[in-house]
């Protein structure tokens, strides 16, 4: 015998053909897998509709960048590189694994086209791929099993530790790599012994090492090893395939779909029910997510796809301050419930009210909708829409904390959360000194090109009214012809929709839209990122909306605004990205450009900035909510700014200003640290 006998021709004990096993294993494996997938598909079929087949171009781009390109992974460098290694290895080795299954029936089978040089190149690459995957698995196992990074820990209230499953799967992958390499190495060693022909193997690869070890092994050992490792690989492969849908490794299968269907638009909120227009809302039996099947199929797919990597919760400000919310467990708890309610065989169980069963009310109210979790997730899992849908369900059931009921009622009655009179909405213009120098047009009486949308906090809060006055002065000096809606303006409702009070939001939207259309303006400017977001992303068919920082940056470039040299040059400034300006709307550069246009201003960057900015505590209705927490988000943020060496925090959002002002006091940093609104800093530096 000059050649080793492959699994297709081998007989166990000389009589039992191995090919039978090579046939049965895939049949059982694929059959079982198909059954499991069918069961896993059931909840998606029962779920609510979702609209995910639009904007195919953007989806394909996500597929290339986020899925294939893994661009979000290096944000956590070590874990990211390990994952990219294993992911790329899997992609490469999937070809080898497929052909190996066929090798069980047909000795020496190669996929079409892989017979010639392409096959040689492929073999060379896949030998390294297997080696790199094995090394990555070992490092990952050591990291998870011994170093145990904190973000993988499972707090007691969220159930048992997940390390065992993770390490088990790493073991399975390692088994696949080793058995595949041994299968090949035993064959190469055997042939070498017979023919003396040195088959080229990728140096230092796993196969190369094994071949070196096996060079002088007895032939019967090589033969046995060849067959044994083949079936170890075959069995492990199909076991792994069927094991994937049982837990967090389901993402190996679902990720490609999940990324394709992920959010392609930013800053918006899903409709109450896809396919139901605003006018049809009144006819809906129920609102929002109350039971498991009220989630959309994409949100169910999110639950399946979570790899439990903990990046969302690591970035979540609510989690950081000890609020009872960890986005990771929003997903894990829902997945556990799907697995429980949709078992592998037998009856499908009915879901209870989720907010009593697996979630708590405080958990769902704790979210500031800052979007840090979604920005981070390498799988494109969404949280904001789920939280909003759960809140819609709670609002529909009357489950709203007393602290939020008052401002909601005030919004209904007065159009602002403070319950202040409508006619006082423009009182900020009546400041003596301001009024003496500046006249603000009331669009109910006069016409203008631009509407300055002030929104509630800037209209009514004594201190924040300063932002309205500074914004007006900036606009005036920049030569913008603008006016305000006065008492016709209502709260933009950015937080009203995000707190689940859809009908109230609809009401506010209608009133504002009508007033804006009536005014005949061509564009809207606001200094409140929350208003900016609502008008731009939630309202329909409005005129273009700009944030004041965009106007300023543009007018500096055009030369219409000129800034004095820094009045406080010994201070160190840092810009804090408001969530609704940055993450939700991608405005990172304009405020920085404007700051940098001030000569002699020293500006540093926070470690967590731009799309990793850390929420200051939330705006709108979040100011009224009384969360359980150990520390304020704002205090953590102020400390981060201090660590960055700054003593003036500049932000571009009234809510950030309020939260950071309070936080400076709570952190005991009065005198050391100061917070300024963007408009204040700019206005101070205008000629």
């Amino acid at each position: 015998m000059t050649s080793i006998i492959g699994p297709a021709s081998f007989n166990f004990f000389g009589i039992f053909p191995a090919v039978i096993l090579s046939f049965i294993l895939p049949v059982i494996g694929i059959g079982l897998f198909a059954y499991i997938m069918a069961r896993r598909f059931a909840p998606l079929v029962r779920a609510n509709p979702d609209s995910r087949f639009d904007q195919i171009g953007k989806r394909v781009k996500n597929l290339i960048l986020v899925w294939l390109g893994q661009i979000r992974h290096p944000r956590y460098m070590l874990a990211g590189v390990l994952h990219i290694s294993i992911f790329a290895g899997f992609l490469i080795l999937s070809i080898r694994s497929t052909s190996l299954v066929v090798v069980g029936f047909s000795d020496g089978f190669v996929l079409p086209g892989f017979g010639g040089p392409l096959g040689d190149i492929y073999n060379f690459i896949k030998d390294y791929a297997a080696t790199i995957v094995l090394i990555a698995c070992i490092i990952a196992a050591v990291r998870r099993g011994i170093y145990k990074p904190k973000r993988y820990a499972v707090p007691e209230n969220y159930g048992k530790d997940h390390t065992a499953e993770a390490v088990f799967v790493l073991g399975i992958i390692a088994t696949l790599m080793i058995s595949e390499s041994l299968f090949e190495a035993s064959q190469v060693a055997y042939e070498f012994q017979h023919t003396g022909h040195e088959h080229f193997l990728a140096p230092l690869s796993l196969v190369w090492i094994f071949k070196g070890i096996l060079t002088s092994a007895p032939q019967n050992v090589l033969q046995g090893l060849h067959i044994f490792t083949y079936f170890v690989h075959d069995l492990t492969f199909f076991f792994f395939l069927c094991f994937l849908p049982m837990g967090k490794h389901f993402h190996v299968i679902t990720s490609i779909f999940n990324v394709f269907f992920m959010r392609v638009q930013k800053g918006n909120i899903k409709p109450v029910m896809y396919g139901v227009s605003d006018e049809g809302l009144d006819d809906l039996e129920s609102f929002g997510v109350k039971k498991l099947e009220d989630f959309t199929w994409k949100h169910m797919l999110d639950f399946y796809s979570c790899a439990d990597c903990g990046r969302c919760s690591d970035q979540c400000p609510a989690n950081a301050v000890g609020r009872p919310l960890s986005p990771r467990f929003i997903t894990i708890k829902a997945r556990d419930l799907i697995f429980k309610n949709y078992p592998m065989s037998g009856e499908i169980y009915k879901s209870n009210l989720l907010v009593e069963d697996i979630y708590t009310e405080d958990e769902i109210w704790s979210c500031t909708t800052c979007g840090a979790c979604e920005e981070e997730c390498p799988l494109g899992i969404e949280y904001i829409d789920k939280i909003v849908d759960l809140r819609r369900g709670m609002v529909d059931e009357g489950m709203v904390p007393q602290s939020l009921q008052k401002p909601l009622k005030a919004l209904e009655k007065r159009g602002n959360p403070y319950g202040k009179m409508e006619k006082k909405r423009a009182d900020w213009t009546k400041d003596k000194e301001f009024k003496a120098n500046w006249q603000i047009k009331d669009l109910a009486k006069e016409k203008a090109d631009t509407l300055y949308f002030v929104d509630s906090i800037t209209s009514y809060d004594d201190e924040i009214q300063e932002i309205a006055r500074r914004t007006s002065i900036i606009l005036k000096k920049a030569g913008v012809d603008f006016g305000i809606l006065g008492k016709l303006e209502k709260d933009s409702g950015n937080e009203v929709i995000r707190f689940g009070e859809e009908m109230l939001y609809q009401d506010l939207k209608e009133q504002n839209t009508e007033a804006i259309m009536e005014s005949g303006v061509k564009q809207i400017v606001t200094a409140d990122p929350h208003a900016y977001n609502a008008l731009k992303n939630d309202y329909d068919n409005l005129v273009p909306v700009k944030h004041i920082s965009q106007v300023v940056a543009q007018k500096i470039i055009s030369g219409e605004l000129d800034l004095k040299p820094c009045q406080d040059p010994e201070k160190v400034y840092v810009y804090h990205d408001p969530c609704y300006l940055g993450r939700h709307n991608g405005i990172y550069e304009e405020p920085r450009q404007a700051l940098d246009a001030i000569d002699g201003l020293t500006r540093v960057e926070l470690e967590k900035s731009r799309d990793r900015s850390f929420c200051c505590g939330g705006g709108g209705l979040m100011l009224f909510y009384e969360p359980e927490e150990e520390i304020r988000m704002g205090v953590l943020r102020v400390n981060m700014a201090a660590d960055a060496g700054a003593n003036i925090i500049v932000t571009a959002c009234p809510f950030c200003l309020v939260n950071i002002q309070d936080a400076i006091k709570v952190a005991g940093k009065e005198g050391e640290m100061e917070v300024l609104d963007f408009t204040e800093l700019i206005e101070q530096h205008l000629y």
Partner: protein, 261 residues
Amino acid sequence: MEILVCVKRVPDTAENEFELNSAGNDLDRDDLVYSVNEWDNYAIEEAIQIVDKVGGSVTVITVGDDESEEVLRREMAMGANNGILLSDDAFEGSDGLGIAAILKAETQKGNYDLILSGAQADEGAGQVGGMLAAMLDMPYASLVNKIEVGDGKIIVGREIEGGNQEMNEIDLPCVLSIQTGINEPRYVGIRGIRKVAKVDIPVKGTSDLGIDADSVGEAGAKTKRVDYFVPDMGDGAEMLEGSTDEIIEKLIEKLKANGGF
């Protein structure tokens, strides 16, 4: 259990800035927004919770003008089964005794086991509940902050000055005035109110109730308002006393009470 809850439409303290009218005898009511008296919300919530537990129905009733229908709908959106509006020009200007007499007339037509009212109203005197109980010859407990439903009897808790708690067994039927904090009233949004927008709410006047028009309203009122004014501001300073923790607690309460939080 058949429960009747008496509610009142009042100017909302949270959403208004009160100013006197030019005559100086009442609030300037032109720009006011109205809502359900806060205490009444707790009474409704308690009634709904009792019915959820032991069965029965909740009826909500008010004496007022056409606009008072909105508060009935809001309470029905919370979960009250029926609403009754007692409205008649003759009712206008009724004092507490008159309101109690009107409520009594309707209450006697029903077969209620339990009658609840708010402990007081934002602009009221906290008198109607007690008067109604006396007129109906029913036992009465005021400032109730806990209700345990038993068989033919209920046990009610009352908060006593100084933070003590008193528990009383009381025979049914009875009248209770409900204190805030007894529960957490559920939220009612626009959607909830729209759902009950078309439910029929009967309106009853003097003839339906069989009461003499002269015995109620301004004509029948035995107390009359003679003046209404905002007292002159004092010096405004107040010393908080006690341990640090107590002072902090008092301060927080003050801030909360004045909308500082």
